[in-house]
Subunit: 338 residues, 2 copies
């Protein structure tokens, strides 16, 4: 009798993101139903445009975090679905506005909505989704959740404005960059996880732990995203590579590369970022300078540190499949590309 | 001895808007203080831009309505100031986004913010003010006020999208136009007055009366605004005349003029609105056609009817200086130009 063929389980093992989706399947179906219902409107352009963006799916990472953290907390009501949908609406609204601000071509692998319906429609439908997100929060009756998510929303806008003010400025420090990603990205992750603790009526320490988990996960996520913009592949990422470079957006890989640049290299960065004088070959040159400086690797190392902090933050909770999968997700956010 | 010179008191009598401002002076000072405090941010572009718009003053009509209605209801707390500031922030956020959508040149008699700081900054600072408005509402602890204002915010966005979808369409009906102004303008007036009744814990009938007052006043206000765009003077209005015409925005004066147009006139409207082929002289031609059709007068008559409905709605409240001034304001909104 022959031994059975060896199976490499690593090849078929689902990612922590997939595992979380499987665990939260019925919750996420409920969230999706709310999303579809609440983006409806008699004004046809609204559901059309919202469907184009929200219906494209994406990772739904933020609402997944809200429902998963609520489950880890043993929450037994139904408000986590509404809050998760509210979180996704806030995220979708910022994406619609970002596409206008950034003049993006692709979003979630599709043509950006503003290129189909125009900038005006993207601005106004973003406003609609944002308002609807507050309707949903009001229905939960949780003033604390409303406070956390409205504060996160203003912080996101601050981060976006700070990023805008820093465009094409090669003197930007790492601290400013960390402030920007802490505001524009990590604040919503932190709010998405903290509100789960709020509706579950957990202790202040546990709420803080959830918030820390979301915050650090969000930082890791954005650092990886910014690294991918210089090292990923368009098809894998669902957005164009080199967007940040073309827009003159200073991210950590470039900030660290510029910090180590010699005079000729500085002149290159001056020309392509500050003077915004770019040729086709310049992006490749930028990538090679970034690799030479080891700045992609050091960016990913920093992301890995934040992921480890996120993992540790959840240790305050008793062991469970939810907890371990959320912890694994933190590492996966970084390891998906490295 | 000569008789004293006759004084025409009509010439010096303050308008109802001025009277309401005088009555509500200390309240409005408190509202202004909150507005200034809450539009602050370490990201300098935010207070700069917000100050340009909010600091330009404008009529502050919506927050004035909130505090005046609260006073008429005998409200004794301090939440009306926060709600009034929240209402002004929602209004300011929509103005910033409208300027990008409409490509306006002037706002409140100043250069529109998007022409100074760019469209991106206007979009993001609008988002910031919108989020801050919800922060303020949360602080009042009134879930009902939050519900009313978040619902109004989504209705405003729906109205703006509907208006966008109706641009350059000369088949637009009066009903669609009334839907649009009911949503984009009257919804916030109605919310601004209703929340005053909510925090004052008035009966459902009184809340409904306040809502009706705001709604009808808002309709009258927008009808007059749309008439002014074809009949006012730029200096008096603080915005450019002919904006709606140039943007191909169908408002009641034009809808009624087109309904009465002969074949040659229809061709004119087809060219200037649908084909958007406009010469300098076309605006004057449009104004003369509108006057010939009596459409400015009939628009103002309709506004006068809504103002009368607004006046009547407040009769449920006991007589007071607040009530009578709010009632006079309704007529004044129309009479300021006719």
């Amino acid at each position: 009798m022959n031994a059975p063929a060896k199976i490499d389980h690593n090849l078929v093992k689902p990612s922590p993101a997939d595992q979380l989706w499987t665990l939260a399947k019925s919750d996420m179906a409920a969230v999706d139903a709310i999303i579809l219902e609440r983006m409806d409107s008699p004004i046809g352009m609204i559901p059309d445009l919202a469907q184009h963006l929200v219906g494209a799916g994406g990772k739904r990472l933020r609402p997944l975090l809200t429902v998963s953290c609520a489950q880890m907390c043993g929450y037994e009501g139904g408000d986590h679905h509404k809050l998760a949908a509210a979180v996704e609406f806030i995220h979708s609204a910022t994406l619609l506005h970002d596409d206008v601000v950034d003049e993006s071509d692709l979003r979630r692998g599709r043509k950006a909505a503003n290129l189909i319906w125009g900038n005006s429609a993207s601005i106004l439908v973003g406003d609609f989704l944002f308002a609807r997100s507050f309707n949903l929060m009001v229905e939960t009756g949780s003033l604390e959740a409303l406070d956390i998510l409205s504060t996160a929303s203003s912080v996101i806008a601050e981060g976006e404005v700070q990023q805008l003010a820093s465009l094409r400025d090669i003197t930007i420090t790492e601290q400013i960059y960390m402030d920007v990603i802490g505001s524009k990205t990590a604040a919503l992750f932190a709010a998405a996880t903290e509100v789960a603790g709020v509706i579950s009526a957990r202790s202040d320490a546990e709420r803080e732990a959830l918030r820390t988990y979301g915050q650090k996960l969000g930082l890791a996520f954005q650092l990886v995203d910014d690294a991918l913009d210089y090292g990923g592949f368009e098809s894998a990422l669902g957005k164009s590579v080199g967007d940040d470079f073309r827009e003159g957006k200073l991210t950590l890989p470039v900030i660290r590369t510029i910090a180590a640049a010699d005079e000729a290299e500085l002149k290159f960065w001056q020309r392509v970022i500050v003077d915004h004088d770019q040729q086709d070959v310049d992006f490749e040159k930028a990538v090679s300078l970034i690799r030479k400086a080891g700045a992609l690797k050091s960016t990913l190392d920093l992301a890995r540190n934040y992921a480890a902090e996120a993992r540790r933050a959840l240790e305050i909770f008793p062991e469970s499949e939810w907890r371990s999968t959320l912890q694994d997700l933190a590492d996966y956010v970084v390891d998906r590309i490295s």
